[in-house]
C-alpha cells in the first residue's frame, strides 16, 4: 500500500465503502444472474429484496454517517405529527470528509437507481409482473435513500449558509460594539 499523497487522497474508510457497494452490487448481481441458475421465483424475490433492504439500512445508518456525515430519519412528535429530521456534522468535520468517499457514495447511489430502472423496463417489456414487483421494491428503497440524503445535503448547505451569515453578523456587531465603546 503506497503512502497517501498530500494532493490525491485514498479512501478514508475503505471498509465502509466496501460494504456500501457490496449489498447494492450483490442485489443487482443476484437478480440478473439468478435467472440462469434458479428456477424458483420465490428464492429470487426473497434474497434480492433482503439484500436491497440490508443495503438500505447500511446506507441510511452507516455509510451515510461515515462517508458524508449526513443522517435523516422520521419521528413522531408529541402532537402525533410526523416530522422528518435531517442531521449533519458540523462544518469543520464536513469539510474534512474525504472527497473520494463522498464521490463514491453519491455515484453508487445514483447508479443503482438507474440500473434498477433499466431492469424494470426489461421486465415490463417481457410482461413479467412478478419480477416487476421485485424491481419495484428495490427501486423504491433506492429512491427513498436518494431523496432522504439529497434533502439532508440541501439542509446542511442551508444551515451552513445561515450559520455563516449569523456568525458574520454577530461578529460584525460585536466589533462595532467594541469599537463604539472605545470611542
Amino acid at each position: 500500500m503506497e503512502r497517501v499523497q498530500p494532493t490525491g487522497e485514498n479512501y478514508a474508510n475503505p471498509r465502509t465503502c466496501f460494504f456500501h457497494v457490496l449489498f447494492k452490487a450483490a442485489a443487482l448481481a443476484f437478480y440478473i444472474l439468478s435467472a440462469l441458475f434458479f428456477n424458483s421465483f420465490v428464492i429470487i424475490f426473497v434474497v434480492t429484496v433482503l439484500l436491497a433492504a440490508l443495503d438500505f439500512w447500511v446506507v441510511k445508518n452507516v455509510s451515510g454517517r461515515i462517508l458524508v456525515g449526513l443522517r435523516w430519519w422520521n419521528e413522531i412528535n408529541e402532537q402525533g405529527e410526523s416530522v422528518w429530521k435531517f442531521e449533519c456534522l458540523d462544518q469543520e468535520s464536513l469539510a474534512r470528509m474525504n472527497k473520494k468517499d463522498s464521490w463514491l457514495f453519491w455515484w453508487t447511489l445514483y447508479l443503482t437507481a438507474v440500473a434498477w430502472i433499466f431492469l424494470g423496463i426489461f421486465s415490463l417489456i417481457r410482461f413479467q409482473a412478478d419480477y416487476l414487483l421485485v424491481v419495484g421494491v428495490c427501486l423504491s428503497l433506492s429512491i427513498a435513500n436518494i431523496v432522504g440524503f439529497t434533502k439532508c445535503r440541501k439542509d446542511a448547505k442551508k444551515q451552513i449558509q445561515q450559520f455563516a451569515s449569523q456568525t458574520i453578523a454577530s461578529r460584525f456587531s460585536s466589533t462595532l460594539q467594541s469599537a463604539f465603546s472605545v470611542v
Binding site: 421465483f41 429484496v49 449533519c88 414487483l133 449569523q166
Partner: protein, 290 residues
C-alpha cells in the same frame, strides 16, 4: 448600531444612551466577571437543542435569555449611577450564563454526535431493540394502556417486512404446486392491503400517520404467522380451522385499539371492517392451502 442587535429582543428603554454609558462604565471599571461587549445573538428562534439539525462547532450558542437578563438589569438599576451598585445584579447573571451555556453546550454536543458518530454496533442494537419493543407493544396488547394511538410512535418497517415475507414463505412451502404464484400473491395482497387500509383510514378523516399504520398492520400479522406455521406442520382441517380462528381473533384484537383510536367514533366500523376482512381472507388462504 450596537443597540439594534439586541433591541429586538428587549423593548427599547427610552434612555438607551444612558445604558450604553453605564455599560461603558462597567467595562472601564473592569470587574472581571462582567461579560465583555458581546451582544446576544441576532434575534432568531431559540435553537431547540435536542433536535437541532446543525451543530456549530466553535461557537456554542449563547443562551438568548441570560445576556438579555444582564442587559435588562442595567436599565432597571439605572437611577443610582453607581458602578459598585451595578456590579451586584450583573455579576450574578454571568455565572448563570456560563453554567447555562455550559449546560446547553453539553446537551448540544452530547445528543447529536451520539447518533452521528456512534459505532455501528450501537445502531444495530438500537434498531433490534426497537423491533422487539414494537412487537411486544402491538402483539401482546395491554387493555389498560392509556393511549393506544401513541403506542407505535417509534415505527419501523423491518418487523412488517419479516412477517410478510415469512407468511409468504410459509404459504408457499405449504402449497404443493404453483409455489411462486402463491408467494407473489400473498406478498402483493398483504403489502397492497396494508397501504390501502391506511389510505382508507386517512380518507375517513382519521388521524394516523402513514408509516405508523403500515408498521402496525405488519406487526399484527405475527399471530397469523404463528398460525400458518402450525397449520403447515399439522394437516388436519379441523385443527387448522381452530388454530386459524384463534390467530385471527388475536390479530384483530391487536389491531383494534390503534385503528379505533385513530378515527371518529361514528366511523369506527368503516375503518375496522376492511382490516378484519383482510385478516379473514389471509386466514382462508392459510386454511385452504394444500
Amino acid at each position: 448600531m450596537a443597540k439594534m442587535s439586541h433591541g429586538d429582543t428587549i423593548p427599547l428603554h427610552p434612555s438607551s444612551q444612558s445604558d450604553i454609558d453605564e455599560i461603558e462604565n462597567l467595562m472601564i471599571a473592569g470587574p472581571a466577571n462582567v461579560l465583555p461587549a458581546r451582544p446576544p445573538s441576532p434575534p432568531r428562534a431559540s435553537i431547540p437543542v435536542s433536535s437541532s439539525p446543525f451543530l456549530p462547532s466553535n461557537l456554542p450558542p449563547p443562551p438568548p435569555s441570560a445576556p438579555a437578563a444582564a442587559y435588562h438589569k442595567a436599565p432597571i438599576s439605572a437611577s443610582p449611577p453607581d458602578a459598585a451598585y451595578h456590579k451586584a445584579p450583573i455579576s450574578a447573571s454571568p455565572p448563570a450564563a456560563e453554567t447555562s451555556r455550559g449546560g446547553i453546550a453539553a446537551d448540544g454536543f452530547g445528543s447529536l454526535p451520539n447518533t452521528l458518530t456512534e459505532p455501528v454496533w450501537d445502531t444495530v442494537k438500537r434498531d433490534l431493540s426497537r423491533i422487539v419493543s414494537n412487537l411486544k407493544l402491538v402483539v401482546f396488547p395491554n387493555p389498560y394502556r392509556e393511549d393506544p394511538g401513541k403506542a407505535l410512535r417509534d415505527w419501523d418497517l423491518w418487523g412488517p417486512f419479516f412477517f410478510i415475507v415469512f407468511l409468504g414463505l410459509t404459504l408457499s412451502w405449504s402449497a404443493s404446486l404453483k409455489k411462486s404464484e402463491v408467494f407473489a400473491v400473498a406478498f402483493a395482497v398483504l403489502a397492497a392491503g396494508a397501504i390501502i387500509l391506511t389510505l382508507n383510514v386517512l380518507l375517513l378523516g382519521g388521524h394516523i400517520i402513514f408509516f405508523q399504520s403500515l408498521s402496525l398492520l405488519g406487526y399484527c400479522l405475527f399471530p397469523l404467522d404463528v398460525g400458518a406455521v402450525i397449520c403447515m406442520l399439522k394437516d388436519n382441517v379441523i385443527i387448522k380451522i381452530i388454530v386459524v380462528s384463534i390467530a385471527l381473533a388475536w390479530s384483530s384484537w391487536a389491531a383494534y385499539p390503534f385503528m379505533s383510536a385513530a378515527v371518529n367514533p361514528r366511523r369506527k366500523a368503516l375503518a375496522l371492517y376492511p382490516v378484519f376482512l383482510m385478516y379473514i381472507s389471509v386466514g382462508f388462504l392459510i386454511i385452504a392451502i394444500d
